[in-house]
């Protein structure tokens, strides 16, 4: 099992959800986050005083997938969220040791 964490533009969410659904990935978690990468922040003005926003709104999508689904899921996220501009985000994957479905007690990939 792998956990895939994708740091994305908020506008990418709908496309990513659809793309993951099309390859049969069920279940995902989304968090509203703020952050910056190479894109850095941008400048704004409030009541006449200029300030820099370093941490811009992003979303973090987390899915845990079977070993066999890892490459397909990453590919689906990358393809559906790519705009080609700075700030598209990043995808990370890491191995997951175990999983338990609370309702039934199933473990491992059967719990996904």
């Amino acid at each position: 099992m792998f956990k895939i964490e994708a740091y994305l533009r908020p506008s990418a969410l709908e496309g990513v959800q659809k793309a993951l659904g099309e390859i049969g990935i069920v279940g995902m978690s989304v968090t509203e986050i703020r952050g910056f990468g190479r894109q850095r922040g941008h400048r704004e003005v409030y009541r006449g005083a200029e300030y820099r926003i370093d941490f811009v709104p992003k979303i973090k999508v987390e899915v845990v997938v079977k070993d066999a689904d890892k490459d397909g899921a990453i590919n689906a996220i990358v393809e559906s969220s790519k705009s080609g501009k700075v700030g598209d985000g990043k995808v990370f994957s890491s191995p997951v040791q175990d999983a338990v479905r609370i309702r039934t007690g199933e473990t491992g990939e059967g719990a996904l």
Partner: protein, 414 residues
């Protein structure tokens, strides 16, 4: 009831006039909700309970103190023109005061309409000192301001005092309420100092308000309430004057908004909604002194100029490191002076002169400023006027009230 039989035709007029004053009192009351939501919206959520608390305290102490002493101090009848504290409890039992022998309205209507005004001056200060003022010190400050200082200053004009005798004109309070409140705010802010993190290493770091919807609701409520503030100040339901006042008030508010939007767009390169909101209030404050004595086109011009003034005033006051989270000094103080002077420039009554208007408004502004410095210093040496740094960082909701405004996931255990 015998009193009415002598003048039967006057009775329906008296009823309508009196009803309009009472409706106006209720409209002015709604302005306090407007102030509460505007101040909440333009500050951070960690200070929300504290701001709401100050607002409900001020309206309550304002009305109680006005009943105990304020009304008599402000409308003393014959007096030396400067200071009169006629007595404590303001009410007398003369039945004629509840008929049209008193005025176009009853004594009770007179009291409740003026009482709603009284708390406004202290409410203006509440916004400027938000996010760092100590609750107990502010309660002392606000009580003394609204119970004694506002009525004393008010008596100089509306009580028939020395400024009234000089021909000074302030229809509904550009100076008596707004410049007074705005410059009291300036004095309080100078004693208090800026919020932590506002001015760092010579740079201005804006502290963003947390709810633009609440701020907008507040300004629209204030605009609504202003129909009572200005419309009721006709002190009758005179069709000609009340309708004129509605039109001048509305045109000034709209003009103020447009001018602030345009000024913000050109000068700050941004259509800042908080500036548009302040522009509406600037126009309303600006027209308040002359709403019944200028033409519709002058009213629009007064509002437009006020809306432009307020944007520059907010930016300049911020640049000289006077931290006013909601812009109260600019909106009420600076535009209150502008509105009073505008009577001298645009009034259709030739007896209103610029020099008298200037003298009057400077008297109100400087009196409020000096008194506020004294009262805030008094609060500072007694209860303390500012919370400590840890409390300010944590937010006044938790440090002063132990009560978050938005409890979210907080789990409640016994």
């Amino acid at each position: 009831m015998e009193a009415f039989q002598a003048m039967p035709l006057a009775y329906p007029k008296f009823m309508i006039d009196n009803l309009w004053i009472l409706i106006s009192a209720a409209l002015v009351f709604i302005m306090h909700l407007g102030f509460a939501t505007l101040e909440t919206g333009l500050t951070r959520q960690k200070n929300t309970v504290n701001i709401l608390f100050k607002n409900l305290f001020i309206i309550s102490i304002g009305i109680v103190s006005y009943a105990l002493t304020g009304f008599n101090t402000m409308y003393p009848g014959d007096f030396n023109g400067y200071l009169a504290i006629k007595g404590w409890i303001g009410f007398d039992g003369d039945v004629a005061n509840l008929t049209n022998q008193y005025a176009d309205y009853t004594y009770w209507s007179d009291f409740i309409f003026q009482a709603m005004f009284a708390a406004t001056a202290a409410t203006i200060v509440s916004g400027a000192v938000a996010e760092r003022v100590k609750l107990s010190g502010f309660m002392l400050y606000a009580t003394l301001l609204v119970a004694f200082m506002y009525p004393i200053a008010g008596s100089w004009k509306w009580g028939g005092g020395w400024l009234d005798q000089m021909g000074f004109y302030d229809f509904a309070g550009s100076s008596l309420v707004h410049a007074f409140g705005g410059f009291a705010a300036l004095g309080a802010v100078l004693v208090l100092g800026p919020r932590m993190g506002k001015y760092v290493d010579g740079h201005i770091r804006p502290i963003l308000g947390h709810s633009m919807p609440l701020a907008t609701i507040g300004v629209f409520l204030l605009w609504l309430g202003w129909y009572g503030f200005n419309g009721g100040s006709v002190l009758s339901a005179d069709p000609t004057l009340v309708s004129l006042v509605f039109v001048t008030t509305t045109l000034a508010a709209a003009g103020g908004c447009l001018a602030a939007i345009i000024t913000s767009y050109i000068y700050l390169k941004k259509p800042d909604i908080t500036m548009g909101l302040n522009g509406i209030l600037a126009g309303l404050v600006g027209i308040t002194a002359g709403a019944d004595t200028v033409t519709w086109s002058s009213a629009m011009l007064i509002g437009l100029i006020a809306g432009a003034i307020v944007v520059f005033a907010i930016v300049i006051i911020d640049r000289i490191k006077i931290d006013d989270p909601v812009g109260a000094i600019s909106v009420h103080g600076i535009c209150g002076i502008w509105g009073t002077l505008a009577v001298g420039l645009f009034s259709t009554n030739p007896e209103h002169t610029f020099s008298t208007q200037l003298l009057g408004t400077l008297c109100y502004a400087s009196f409020a400023f000096v008194i506020s410095l004294i009262l805030a210093s008094l609060a500072k040496v007694t209860f303390g006027f500012r919370v400590d740094e840890d409390e300010e960082y944590e937010g006044l909701d938790l440090s002063e009230h132990g009560q978050p405004a938005y409890a979210d996931f907080q789990h409640i255990n016994n």
